[in-house]
């Protein structure tokens, strides 16, 4: 294994390299690239929705196709766009931030990525064979009675990618527990690593509930069980509980990493230590804990009874407290700092008011009695887009600008970045602010048409115009990527005057990350070294052989196997021939597991002499 092998490689070699890689940086980039692709798909679906709702009684798409659009938009954006991109950031940044050479389970990491990717492919394959149309929430009996195979695709795709995400979560927990560099105590970890840690714990506890929910739905649809079948004593509310026990923590799984990204950015671009670091960590944990106890606020109108509603309403409102702590800490971080308004900082600044609006409407929705008015109206749609776009998407955009030099050795063009920001920012508020009022006027969500002259015409038109502004912003961002790739200058190792360890590694980051593990002397370790004049981290160990994991094609092969088996499951109750795919796919997948188990894989060593030959 030569270190100088990265020079010129054929396309086949590069493809093979990526198919077999277990390097967290490459996996991270693949997560982000795949997530961006699904983000574009979900974006197109949202434009179809908005065009349909541009004018009253529009017939741009049929009612059935509209249902498929809203289902696919929600599912794609949550599971296949936002989450993988955030997992990508975790992969790229966290091992570097905590001073590790890799993640704890590199093989599992690769497997998790491929499972996510093939889950996404499976879901979107359903466009050819009939897409799911029961909403991303897939409430039975609608989902159990939905004709065709759409919902089956939904079930199997989410089962696949959910397993992948769970692996990712376990991996990051173990990585952070066991692989921190010498001196990197928990309370010296950068906040993005902290939020990754807490997010991973949420993934660990939330996804199994969803796994079970999907199994129940799968059994009901494919094997005639009776979980949600009222005639045989089933109960559809079970799905709602299991789904929201998962899906409420899921929104925190999405927002907490974004909080971490913003914490990094506010600190770096204000040139100040993060204000209230300890309280930030504490607030993250509190959000995670409370986030698990409030799922039934999605179900206030189900009829759980006033006691249950009251408990969940109080819990919901309590989450505003730790979130408020965070908002004030970010403001205080900027207070008195020497602020640079780069594009990343711009997204972060825009996040604060946008997200606060979303949080405020969240408290409104959390008031159980008032919720009877808001429930299933556009008010809810406006609320969760303020949180998910104003929080998560802004966080992703900020993170992309911030870590682009780390990932691709280029700094994204600032002018284009700012243009994209303003287009998207204006478009976002144009699209969703008005939806609060549409909702308060009584416009229900998920309806494919509305009638004329009910006071909804102008609001919907404005909203659609805003959506196109957002699309324009996204296109400018894509142009920026291409422009930077073609024209951009090579980025310096530390373009933002960073404070954390990921800016201390040479650029491009060597595959072993750190030649010698760094000695961490406090919070913001790189900044400490900069302030004390040496600007470089002290090594915590003598230069020695580095143990690295071997690449492997097995994760990819296993995933293909499970993918084929999923298709078998989807079609087996209609076409018995599909059993062939089911058993064949399972054989490939389980065969991969067996090979992996029985074949020893000790990894390899990068020799000390080789490392000495490397120039910094």
């Amino acid at each position: 294994m030569s270190l100088a092998s990265a020079q010129k490689k054929g396309f086949g070699a590069i493809l093979w390299d990526y198919l077999t890689t277990v390097d967290h940086k490459k996996i991270g980039v693949m997560y982000i690239a795949a997530g961006a692709f699904f983000f574009i798909l979900g974006g197109i679906e949202s434009l179809v929705i908005r065009v349909q709702l541009m004018v009253p009684e529009n017939d741009f798409v049929s009612a059935g196709l509209y249902n498929e659009m809203i289902t696919m938009h929600g599912t794609t954006m949550i599971f296949f766009a936002a989450m993988p991109i955030l997992l990508g950031f975790m992969n790229v940044a966290v091992p570097l931030q905590i001073g590790a050479r890799d993640v704890a389970f590199p093989f599992l990491n690769a497997l998790g990525f491929w499972l996510f990717l093939f889950g996404g492919i499976l879901l979107n394959l359903s466009w050819i064979f009939g897409a799911p149309d029961a909403g991303w929430t897939a409430y039975p009996p609608l989902s159990t009675q939905s004709p065709g195979h759409g919902t089956d695709f939904y079930v199997m795709a989410l089962q696949l990618s959910g397993a992948g995400t769970l692996m990712g979560g376990i991996n990051f927990i173990v990585t952070i527990v066991t692989m921190r560099a010498p001196g990197m105590t928990y309370m010296r970890m950068p906040l993005f690593s902290w939020t990754t840690f807490v997010t991973s714990i949420l993934i660990l506890f939330a996804f199994p509930a969803f796994t079970v929910a999907l199994f129940l739905l799968m059994f009901d649809r494919m094997f005639d069980s009776a979980f949600f079948d009222i005639a045989l004593g089933g109960n559809a509310v079970i799905w709602q509980h299991l789904f929201w026990i998962f899906a409420h923590p899921e929104v925190y799984i999405l927002i907490l990493p974004a909080f971490g990204i913003f914490s990094e950015i506010f600190s770096v671009f204000s040139k100040k230590r993060l204000f209230g670091y300890t309280s930030m960590v504490f607030a993250t944990f509190l959000i995670a804990f409370l986030g698990f106890m409030v799922w039934a606020h999605h179900m206030f109108t189900v009829g759980l009874g006033s006691v249950a509603n009251a408990i969940f309403a109080v819990g919901t409102m309590a989450i505003a407290v730790p979130t408020g702590i965070k908002i004030f800490n970010w403001l205080a971080t900027m207070w008195g700092g020497s602020i640079r308004i780069s594009t990343a900082m711009l997204w972060a600044l825009a996040f604060i008011p946008s997200f606060t609006i979303g949080g405020m409407t969240g408290v409104m929705l959390g008031a159980a009695t008032a919720d009877y008015q808001y429930h299933d109206t556009y008010f809810v749609v406006a609320h969760f887009h303020y949180v998910l776009v104003g929080g998560v998407v802004f966080g992703i955009m900020a993170g992309l600008h911030y870590w682009w030099p780390l990932m691709f050795r280029r700094v994204l063009n600032e002018t284009l970045g700012k243009l994209a920001f303003w287009l998207f920012f204006i478009g976002f508020h144009l699209t969703f602010f008005i939806q609060h009022f549409l909702g308060l006027m009584g416009m229900p969500r998920r309806y494919w048409v509305f009638l004329e002259d009910q006071g909804l015409d102008l609001g919907n038109l404005v909203s659609t115009i805003g959506a196109f502004f957002m699309a324009a912003g996204a296109i400018v961002f894509v142009i920026n990527i291409i422009y930077t790739a073609v024209k951009g200058e090579k980025a310096p190792q530390d373009p933002w005057n960073g404070r954390t360890l990921e800016w201390a590694v040479p650029s491009p980051t060597p595959f072993y990350n750190f030649k010698q593990l760094p000695l961490v002397r406090g919070l913001d370790p790189l900044w400490i070294e900069k302030m004390e004049g040496n600007g470089k981290l002290t090594a915590a160990e003598p230069l020695n052989d580095i143990h690295m994991p071997n690449g492997s094609i097995i994760p990819f092969v296993m995933t293909v196997g499970f993918f084929i088996a999923s298709l078998g499951f989807i079609y087996q109750y209609e076409y018995p021939i599909a059993y062939l795919a089911l058993y064949g796919g399972m054989a490939i997948g389980i065969g991969g597991m067996i090979v992996r188990s029985l074949k020893d894989d000790h990894g390899y060593y990068v020799r000390k002499e080789e490392l000495e030959g490397e120039v910094e």
Binding site: V174, L204, A209, F219, F227, H241, L242, H602
Partner: protein, 207 residues
């Protein structure tokens, strides 16, 4: 291969499963996984609790469950938990042969448990017509107990693969963590069964 996984007699380790970095990772990782499994089974138990009286005119839990078979199954699984403790005890003393022996007994007991469970399910289906599809109670029962049985099958395959693969190699720092994680997993299966026999069978029998 310079990486030395052999047990060094000069410098004996208290617990061969937790010496290497990979061993520590596997150990923490398995525990983390069990944290997730807790929620998985919690969801299944909760579903069962919600649906246990939804018999839709079909057989109810009081009518079909029998204490004898469940008691035998419980004893088999509890004892297998103890035998795996013995196996790990011998692993800590670096006695490979005895470790294999006790894990062999564990596998034997686990397979006995599985046989009982298969007999039990067959008995319900043929004698009572109580199936996965007969009522929501049936679906919930077979799903919960079946998920546990599935975990037993996975555990058995895991253990047998481990024992066969390493039969000729003996204990070293590469496979000790694997045995150790299996033992932890196996105890967890037992924990789940303790709740199953209590919540499903015993509570289902109380009139």
């Amino acid at each position: 291969m310079s990486h030395d996984y052999s047990l060094n007699p000069e410098k004996l380790h208290e617990d061969p499963a937790k010496v290497t970095h990979e061993g520590k990772n596997k150990f923490i990782g398995l525990w983390v996984f069990l944290g997730g499994e807790t929620v998985l089974f919690a969801s299944l138990f909760a579903t069962y609790l919600a649906l246990k009286n939804s018999t839709a005119g079909g057989p109810s839990s009081q009518e079909i469950f029998g204490l004898e078979l469940v008691f035998i199954m419980t004893m088999l699984l509890l004892t297998s938990s103890l035998t795996s403790v013995y196996a790990i005890y011998h692993m800590k003393n670096h006695n490979f042969r005895k470790m294999q022996l006790w894990f062999g007994i564990t596998a034997f007991l686990g397979l006995g448990f599985l046989a009982c469970e298969i007999y039990e399910f067959a008995h319900y289906i043929t004698d009572y017509g109580f199936t996965f599809r007969s009522s929501a109670f049936g679906s919930a029962f077979y799903t919960l107990v079946g998920f546990h049985g599935g975990h037993v099958i996975v555990g058995m395959s895991w253990l047998i693969a481990l024992m066969v693969r390493n039969a000729k190699r003996g204990l070293n720092l590469y496979n000790a963590p694997k045995y150790n994680t299996f033992a932890l997993y196996w105890h967890f299966i037992d924990v789940v069964w303790v709740f199953i026999f209590t919540v499903v069978y015993l509570m289902g029998m109380v009139s």
